[in-house]
Subunit: 115 residues, 4 copies
């Protein structure tokens, strides 16, 4: 089974046995997803860009936990919407290849900021 | 190769050939991640919970694209921090199993809201 | 002095005496602002829309604190960018009056969702 | 009338004549608030901290518009929850004075990151 499939099955089961599916409307899950992402943002908000590349062990451990939370809620949301994340990414990456031709955007912060 | 690994390799290559790695500090990537999540939130903000479960085709297509964007930035962030997402999720799910014992939290919105 | 001016002066002083202005780049402040908003989102994420209108005292007290935090960071950000919030709002409201003519958008979730 | 009161009255009227109050549950408004903040984050995501202090005219104009949107939704949310923002800020600032004594936190990124 693929990584994402495996997370989907486990997260679904985790919610099911706790009878938490009643709370997992897509609307609620997208809110929860945004809260978890903000917990990641909180870690980095006062760090310089350079500091953000050299986390100490404690901060790195927090970041790992928050990345996991974001991944789990993203998978739960996709599951409720019956979206295949791997297929969605493959399709979006093709669009992005066409939208940002290497020769036009290479190294350009300006074009990039429109990304 | 696992699907998360596959996304990591492709997203890394996508950034590299465009010389965009210079913008991809963890601090910047976490901001981009939060922006993509907000594009998901935007889709659901005025919908009822029930409506959020029955998207029309156009809205669903937008949601699929945004889910892909969130996944890609999460993978980029984890890549820059040298975090293995699948391992992070496995570890976090174990913690959550211990933290939310089924018999204590089952169906409880109150406990859940502290989740 | 107006409310917003008063908050600006106090928040500026609060940061200054703690020597925290060094952390208050617009980039960092906008991240902090998003984190505070997420703390508001967290309060509402598992509530139904109806429950969100009838908070208990404890939850309401949390919401009040978070609204204050959002307001303070918004004022700090505007201060660093030398933006007059009251003038910005007046100008934006005029734009919105023109963009959403009453007769066209009245009661329409569809138009509204494009808001 | 204070400026926050003035914004409240105008924003309430704006929603009322369009029959948009039906969409303005606190849950929905907090989502809209987070989306507007993300539009601010988007402006700053690829900028360095230094660049974020020196916006060009076009970018600054976008920032002003987004700051206005955030302010309006924050006022709408507070209105629906019957919260007086100015009073909430005054109360929170007193708490913060007590929580972050100048002599203990002065210039300290560490204490600050726990802010």
């Amino acid at each position: 089974m693929s990584d994402l499939e495996d997370i989907k099955v486990r997260a679904r089961q985790f919610a099911k046995v706790r009878d938490w599916e009643q709370f997992h409307s897509p609307k609620n899950l997208v809110m929860a997803l945004s809260v978890e992402v903000a917990e990641l943002v909180e870690i980095f908000q006062w760090l310089t860009e350079q500091q953000s590349q050299q986390l100490n062990d404690e901060t790195r451990a927090r970041a790992i936990d928050e990345i996991a939370d974001v991944q789990v809620y993203l998978v739960r949301l996709a599951d409720r919407l019956e979206v295949d994340i791997a297929a969605a990414v493959a399709q979006k990456m093709e669009k992005n290849q066409a939208k940002y031709p290497v020769e036009l955007v290479r190294g350009s912060a300006r074009k990039y900021s429109e990304y």
